[in-house]
């Protein structure tokens, strides 16, 4: 190209620029491959985890009323609401009733545990039920045939070999399988794992099926839909009705707590990983861009020599960088969509909710937007120096120092801050946003301070040796030392925080897997059947560990006469006062360890004495001799605490929050629950068959399958979080590589001079290694510490789980610090020096 005498017209400028871009873009993008890799991997991670996390949480958040089944819901266990209360509620809004119970369905050949749900004509108040034939649920259930219709989950058909049109029995009634159940909008309202496939029938039919006997474990849910446009008022009005026997009161915000907890934790973890990937990706991209600009310094000087204006140089390089960014972003987004979509599909299918591609797309686009803003900042920071390369640098081998224009630098910092803020604000959990940004800010601040201190400390030394001299000269450059420390430190910060969180999350998730699970749990055993079944089990050498007890529910209302809401001293134990909790009576000691007090005598028959579990003690600071008021089957009791039982975690055996002495409960209608272990599957399977034949009212829950499923889900989540942490380490390594590469380029010239004046390769390598080790040490210590602290807060405050960072969180920062130093030292020291016969002289004379 030629320089014109006068300033060329703008059109000419644009034409020239287009030509330059056409000539340079391919080589430019090739030169920016490390940059693209950093952008792509960070976009991929951020996009995938955010699309997943945000998709799940917006879906769950927006679906609150749908999951709950109404704007407010109350649940009664065992006993339905009184007519009076029911009518009062019906007067406040649109009321829909459902009843849920576990049962077993009798097919032509065999039985299967099912989760039966009876629904009224108004069900569902929110969302819609999807059935295989795409008809309306109401139409399907209203169909008149020989038998009432039932809509069943496809897995039931798969398990029993039955087909639509076949019949099965529930209790005393026969049902026709009318359709398959594809989506149940309020599935999460159960708030627990399902023991079997869902079966939907009409509520009135269920009520006279004989299945719901007094004392059987049915849950009656009353959902109310607001029609006045003020759901808060409705909630308050329903709450005000609170009857003196307990009910479980729920609003959309507490729908499906148990399942959501896992999803929520995972989502939060994903958000954090996204922020970390973002910060690491940006710092890597910036380092890579800087390396590229430095490599092109000579070319840029030649452009300037031939008459290109600084603006044109900036525009040309910005255009090439924009292309590389776009390519990296597109690659990352495509990959994240490809990963997130099937994962979302699988997770939502499991949760029985719908997801929308639009949500994911919006999320991915916002990730791209946020990243683009950050890249503008990082790119400007890297490019600014290029515009300032003087034409004369061409005559001085183009090695003028690249210093960013302070004006550009402040604009760039503005962009970077904006993108970080945008990233933080679009995080699924707002509290986490502040935390992540704060942590990052503190880490960067500390790294800058430490690097500055190191630079000042070093600059005052006057070393005599060559190695000392090189180290001092290089580390004494505050700006350079700080940027290197920050770039390495951010990576270590993010990786440490995420690995620590991942390790804690894995532990928390595995803690949910029962470690001594029974093989079989029998529900709805009638008191009269207990003795015979116990006998059958004890005679079978293949079965062991039988435990049987009455299975009742109670609601706590007061402690020492103080209403439970006020008596509660531990908010994290508030679940003990939410709705009805497990309750049983026992004449004999259960074998549980006592933390305080003694058991009642086996023949005690006075007014009830109670034995609360550890959790209750913690919730109210209970002591032996205190009194508790509770309601069982609609009757209120006030009893004295005579002992406190130790809690047994993760056994998946029936555990009772409260035990009482036998009277008067043993006379009340209730069923028994039994659990047992099997020496082998054959013994357990044959017991299931015998029970099905002799006692059709009993629901046998095959815990072996449930535990296996749980294990699958949790190991899936664990593996995913591990994968994310591993990917983050890869992103960190990439950004490190970018940094090392940018170092090598600036070192090449120095290494050449050092060999010329008589420094050995060993000396150069040691000097570089010392220098890189100092920076690696700062980055590892500060990045590791801040990452650890950040991880701690994230784990305890955001994930709300125990802090169990594991060894990896300790080793990784150190390992990454060492890797960074050694790589930088070796590549910058040994690698930068020309190698091979004829190379040194070529470069010296070139």
């Amino acid at each position: 190209m030629t320089a014109t005498d006068r300033a060329p017209a703008q059109a000419t400028q644009r034409f020239v620029l287009r030509q330059l871009i056409a000539a340079e873009w391919a080589a430019g993008i090739f030169g920016l491959r490390l940059f693209m890799a950093c952008v792509a991997i960070a976009t991929f991670m951020m996009g995938a985890v955010w699309a997943l996390g945000d998709g799940l949480s917006t879906m769950l958040g927006r679906g609150g009323a749908t999951f709950l089944g109404g704007d407010v819901a109350v649940t009664m266990t065992n006993v339905p609401l009184s007519e009076e209360t029911r009518d009062a509620i019906a007067g406040l809004g649109v009321l829909s009733e459902v009843a849920e119970l576990r049962s077993s369905a009798q097919f032509e050949d065999g039985r299967a545990a099912v989760e039966v749900k009876g629904v009224d004509a108004l069900y569902p108040l929110y969302g819609s039920v999807r059935v295989g034939s795409a008809r309306d649920l109401a139409d399907v259930l209203a169909e008149e045939g020989a038998h009432p219709g039932a809509v069943v989950e496809p897995s039931l058909l798969a398990r029993t070999g039955a087909e639509v049109g076949d019949v099965f029995r529930l209790g005393d009634r026969t049902f026709t399988i009318a359709d398959t159940l594809i989506l149940e909008p309020d599935r999460l309202s159960a708030g627990r794992f399902m023991v079997g496939p869902r079966v939907l029938v009409r509520l009135d039919v269920l009520q006279d099926s004989g299945l719901i006997q007094r004392g059987s474990l049915a849950e009656y849910r009353y959902r109310v839909k607001d029609e006045a446009g003020a759901p808060e008022l409705l909630v308050e009005a329903v709450r005000a009705l609170r009857p003196d026997y307990g009910w479980e009161f729920e609003t959309p915000s507490d729908a499906g707590d148990v399942v959501l907890r896992t999803v929520d934790r995972t989502t939060t973890f994903l958000g954090m990983a996204g922020i970390a990937a973002f910060a690491i990706g940006l710092s890597g991209a910036w380092a890579a861009a800087k390396a590229w600009v430095r490599r092109r310094a000579r070319t840029i000087a030649l452009y300037r020599l031939s008459g290109a204006t600084p603006g044109m140089v900036l525009a040309l390089h910005a255009a090439i960088m924009a292309m590389a960014s776009a390519a990296g972003l597109a690659l990352g987004l495509a990959a994240s969509a490809a990963v997130a979509a099937p994962l979302l599909e699988a997770i939502t299918a499991w949760l029985n909710v719908a997801w929308s591609a639009a949500d994911v797309l919006t999320q991915l686009l916002s990730v791209a937007g946020i990243f683009a803003i950050g890249l503008i900042g990082a790119g400007l920071l890297a490019l600014s120096g290029a515009a300032r390369i003087a034409p004369g640098a061409a005559m001085r081998s183009g090695d003028a120092p690249l210093r960013a224009d302070p004006r550009h630098a402040s604009i760039a910092v503005g962009f970077l801050t904006a993108s970080l803020a945008a990233a933080a604000l679009s995080l699924p959990i707002p509290g986490l946003a502040g935390l992540a940004t704060l942590g990052l800010g503190v880490a960067v601040g500390l790294l800058t301070l430490a690097a500055g201190a190191l630079a000042r400390l070093v600059a005052r030394r006057r070393p005599r040796s060559f190695i000392g001299g090189v180290v001092v000269q290089s580390l004494g450059d505050t700006g350079n030392t700080a940027t290197r420390a920050i770039a390495v430190g951010i990576g270590i910060f993010g990786v440490t925080a995420i690995v620590a969180a991942q390790s804690s999350l894995t532990r928390a998730l595995t803690d949910e897997i029962p470690d001594r699970a029974p093989a079989l749990v029998l529900l709805d055993v009638q008191p009269a059947q207990v003795a015979a079944i116990e006998d059958r089990i004890e005679r079978d050498p293949g079965l062991s560990g039988l435990q049987s007890s009455p299975f009742m529910r109670m609601t706590l209302t007061a402690v020492n006469g103080v209403p439970v809401e006020q008596a509660l001293i531990r908010q994290d134990k508030s679940w003990v006062i939410e709705g009805d909790r497990s309750f049983a009576w026992s004449a004999e000691p259960t074998g549980a360890e006592l933390l305080a007090g003694d058991w009642w005598a086996p023949d005690y028959s006075g007014p009830p004495l109670i034995s609360p579990e550890e959790d209750l003690m913690e919730a109210f600071d209970l002591k032996v001799g205190d009194t508790m008021t509770y309601s069982v089957l609609g009757r209120s009791f006030t009893s004295e605490v005579v002992n406190i039982r130790k809690e047994y975690h993760r056994t998946m055996r029936p555990e009772f929050l409260m035990l009482a002495s036998p009277d008067p409960f043993r006379g009340a209608p209730h069923t028994w629950i039994m659990s047992l272990q099997g020496e082998n599957d054959i013994a357990v399977d044959s017991l299931i068959r015998d029970l099905a034949a002799d006692y059709p009212n009993i629901t046998a829950i095959d815990a072996r399958r449930i535990v296996a499923q749980l294990r699958d889900v949790i190991s899936g989540a664990t593996f995913a979080s591990f994968l994310i942490a591993a990917l983050l380490v890869v992103a960190g390594a990439l950004s490190l590589a970018a940094l090392v590469a940018s170092d090598v380029d600036s070192r090449r010239q120095e290494a050449l001079v050092f060999s010329l004046v008589g420094a050995s390769r060993r000396e150069v390598a040691i000097a570089r290694l010392t220098e890189a080790a100092a920076i690696g040490l700062i980055a590892a210590v500060i990045g590791g510490l801040t990452g650890g602290v950040g991880g701690y807060f994230a784990v305890t405050a955001a994930l709300r789980i125990d802090w169990q960072p594991g060894l990896a969180a300790l080793i990784l920062p150190v390992a990454l610090g060492i890797a960074a130093s050694v790589a930088a030292g070796i590549v910058g020291g040994l690698g930068a020096a020309p190698r091979g016969r004829g190379q040194l002289i070529r470069q010296l004379t070139g």
Binding site: D399, V753, V757, G758, A759, T845
Partner: protein, 240 residues
């Protein structure tokens, strides 16, 4: 081998070869590997340089002048023949012995100045002395810069110096450690006539003052004329 070890201890000044011969090449050969096989660049060179002598090397482009400098400076190992520089057999010497030689006894100047951008003029000039572990490296470097007329530019970085000034920093660096042999490969090639003349004058003065020997590659017949003698190279051979 024993000789080499002695040399490494810095005892080489009193050893070997007649005192007046600082460089002695016998049938020195050098070839470079290339995709088409070995390229023979020096094809049997015989040269003797005496102490205090300034020798010009001339020859067409690509004849092997820079390669000759590289072999004598220990930057490349000859692939054949004997290379004896300042009493050290460079073909036998280890990398560290050759490095040490450059640090203390040989100063090299190229057409490109090869200064470290991040270092000031005085830091650049002091580099070989710092490497040699000398205590007053920067003082000596400052003195040398003053000697080449850059006393007022000590703390400037290369990017703030003109081409001639940068080359004078490179020359100060080459002479700072009081070398016994100076190798200069077209030192004025990047400079205008007047600046080049000035640089050459400084170099000649310094060589004469220190009693060092100098091998000067140049395309300029007038400059070759000023040297004590001229060696013409063509196609890797000394033309007689």
């Amino acid at each position: 081998m024993a000789l080499v070890l002695d040399l490494a201890d810095g005892a080489q000044r009193a050893q070997a070869a007649p005192a007046e011969t600082v460089v002695s090449l016998t049938q020195a050969r050098l070839s470079y590997p290339s995709p088409e096989g070995e390229v023979s660049v020096l094809r049997g060179i015989d040269i003797q340089l005496a102490a205090g002598e300034i020798t010009a090397v001339t020859g067409p482009s690509g004849s092997g002048k820079s390669s000759l400098i590289a072999v004598i400076g220990g930057l490349e190992k000859a692939t054949g023949g004997d290379v004896d520089v300042l009493g050290v057999d460079l073909n036998q010497a280890s990398e560290s012995v050759r490095t040490n030689l450059r640090r203390r006894d040989i100063g090299i100047v190229f057409q490109s100045f090869h200064l470290i951008p991040a270092m000031t003029a005085v830091q650049n000039a002091a580099l070989p002395m710092v490497l040699a572990g000398e205590t007053e490296a920067e003082t000596a470097a400052a003195r040398m810069l003053d000697r080449v007329g850059l006393g007022h530019r000590l703390t400037h970085r290369p990017s703030a110096l003109s081409g001639g000034e940068q080359q004078r920093v490179a020359i100060a660096r080459a002479f700072a450690a009081s070398p016994r042999l100076v190798l200069a490969d077209e030192p004025t090639g990047n400079l205008d006539q007047a600046t080049g003349d000035e640089v050459v004058r400084v170099m000649f003065d310094l060589v004469r003052e220190t009693g060092a020997s100098m091998l000067l590659v140049t395309h300029d017949p007038a400059l070759a004329e000023k040297c004590d003698r001229t060696i013409a190279i063509d196609s890797g051979l000394v033309r007689t």
